[in-house]
Symmetry: C2
Subunit: 378 residues, 2 copies
Amino acid sequence: MERTSLGDVSTPGRVAAAGEGISEEELALAARNHGLPLEALRYDVTPLGLHYVLVHYDIPVVDTVGADAWRLSVGGRVRTPLELSLAELRALPAVTQRVTMECAGNGRARLSPRPVSQPWLVEAVGTADWTGVPLRTVLAEAGVENAADGADDADGAVEAVFTGADHGVERGVEQDYRRSLPLPVDADVLLAYAMNGGPLPPQHGYPLRLVVPGWYGMAHVKWLRAIELTDTPFTGFQQAVAYRIRQSPDDPGEPVTRIAPRALLIPPGFPDFMSRVRVVRPGPVELEGRAWSGYGPVTRVEVSADDGRSWTDAEVAPRGPHRWGWQAWHTTWTATAGRHTLTVRATDADGHTQPLEQPWNRGGFENNLVQRVPVLCR
Amino acid sequence: MERTSLGDVSTPGRVAAAGEGISEEELALAARNHGLPLEALRYDVTPLGLHYVLVHYDIPVVDTVGADAWRLSVGGRVRTPLELSLAELRALPAVTQRVTMECAGNGRARLSPRPVSQPWLVEAVGTADWTGVPLRTVLAEAGVENAADGADDADGAVEAVFTGADHGVERGVEQDYRRSLPLPVDADVLLAYAMNGGPLPPQHGYPLRLVVPGWYGMAHVKWLRAIELTDTPFTGFQQAVAYRIRQSPDDPGEPVTRIAPRALLIPPGFPDFMSRVRVVRPGPVELEGRAWSGYGPVTRVEVSADDGRSWTDAEVAPRGPHRWGWQAWHTTWTATAGRHTLTVRATDADGHTQPLEQPWNRGGFENNLVQRVPVLCR
């Protein structure tokens, strides 16, 4: 008999066998969902089309002009449920935030054994200027019951659940993409309708998305259509099953939240097409890059040219006015003939630092293992 | 002794062993150079950021404003060598062409055994409106020696060689990306400085690129900085070594030129995150997509719901005013419960049709094997 259940086409997460090459399924995800080409770290704000993209299901079609056009609904434990059009949202006082966003799965494909999912190396990052309405403004307009003062109240709202328009199946569970945030929400959380001064591109969430500065990308719900204020913690798939740090399948795990620190080097010199080994001349080589953390400013970037045996401090630019944007760093390396591995390591003000050994977990999240760039000097 | 030659980091092309999974090198290329998410086939003109991208080396930095700013140089067998600024090019009479562009390596990773290079599946395509100056206009201004009438003249120019600003190593050969076209050039070949009404994005060739409608992407030299008119055929790496259809390494091969026909289906229903199997309900399902060929209009698109055993004709929109843009097609499929494989096949006016068996060649070029979309109907 023909098997026709979702479970036949949508299987649980798995970890690849030792030495197992990347599968066609993983390749298809890599081809759809792209990273930032590392030379593009040179731009303070990532040009359109170069910012990393992750779409779990498909980019949905959203109609903002027809008779049944898109509205943002705000409901649940609120005094005044709302149905806001794009024009109404745009009419509210707006804020622009420069935010560095990273996918929680960045680094996953460098883990051994490799969790089989979106196979990022180090490039799942981007920085954009997001314009929109502070979420707090809209929640205040709706009048969240008992959330404003953060008081503990068994009858009051404890979380806001955000539903996107993208629909699909994942690990056997049919769903709309949905995530929650605890109340009260940070002042910096935005309902964003513009990216780098223009309307959101389709792949970045048109017409509206959540932006949660300092958190990994899964929190920044795209194609946002509904906010529901709930009096119980949300336990949907993307909150309780996915995006958890686990060692074994039965482990409830710890939730993925803020972005762990990372520094990336703009690969110096010029590359080999296939291997991406960098070619430089002997002598002084300017090394530059970016560093960021969701926990606080990056206070130290160390660079090694001997694959981690010795380190020197780079100069790190202060955060400046953009609290949530990456910080530039630079140093000079004197290259000598031969093969070298450049490594960079960020530390933030809270003392979090990048590991030199892989921080393995079953979902492949938060792998901020130091980047390693192979260089040939001749 | 430490090996420090380019040949150690930049090895010849190879073909993967049977059953060999995708390597980390191939994955790195997939993460940098992305394809069109197939749901985005719904847009007549591909939104910025969704058009496929291939960058052989790095996106170069090009300065168009400083004292030593970028110029397009036109030299070699011309009467009047030129150095044109972006402003001068923009001042010439402009043309806009809607062009469907595809990477010559599209389909490569579906070949068995798999040539090891940029590992495309079917998504390396995009359609854009390119604005610029016809190449013929600039060549006429420079006064190509003996090319205008196409006369055979041993002393005259026979080709135009196009040099980009991107520099790297490929299969052991250090180079600027460089390709040629035979003279006389087609009237439709453009020196394009705008894409979809705006300046070229960095990854699409800012400030100027060649657009050769109907040819695969390797011909559309990006970050164009020089045109040289030569009296001997160009035999550089990207012309004589890469982009050749070969069966064995020593085969001189046939050059890759015009785009072979292809139809793509917008995957129906909704997807499973990992497997990309599509889920649909029983009953009528609208199937839509795009089809194109560099040899002429697509005259037939056939659709099979039983993995190629039986076929029906879809309705194909005519080419219309956009001679080089893809054509829309559609049909209705009556889905019944169970697993199905949808396949689509294009045929053009010249009689070229997509193969049902893989057209293997060592470089993995022009693999226009029919797309196969797995569907679960429940």
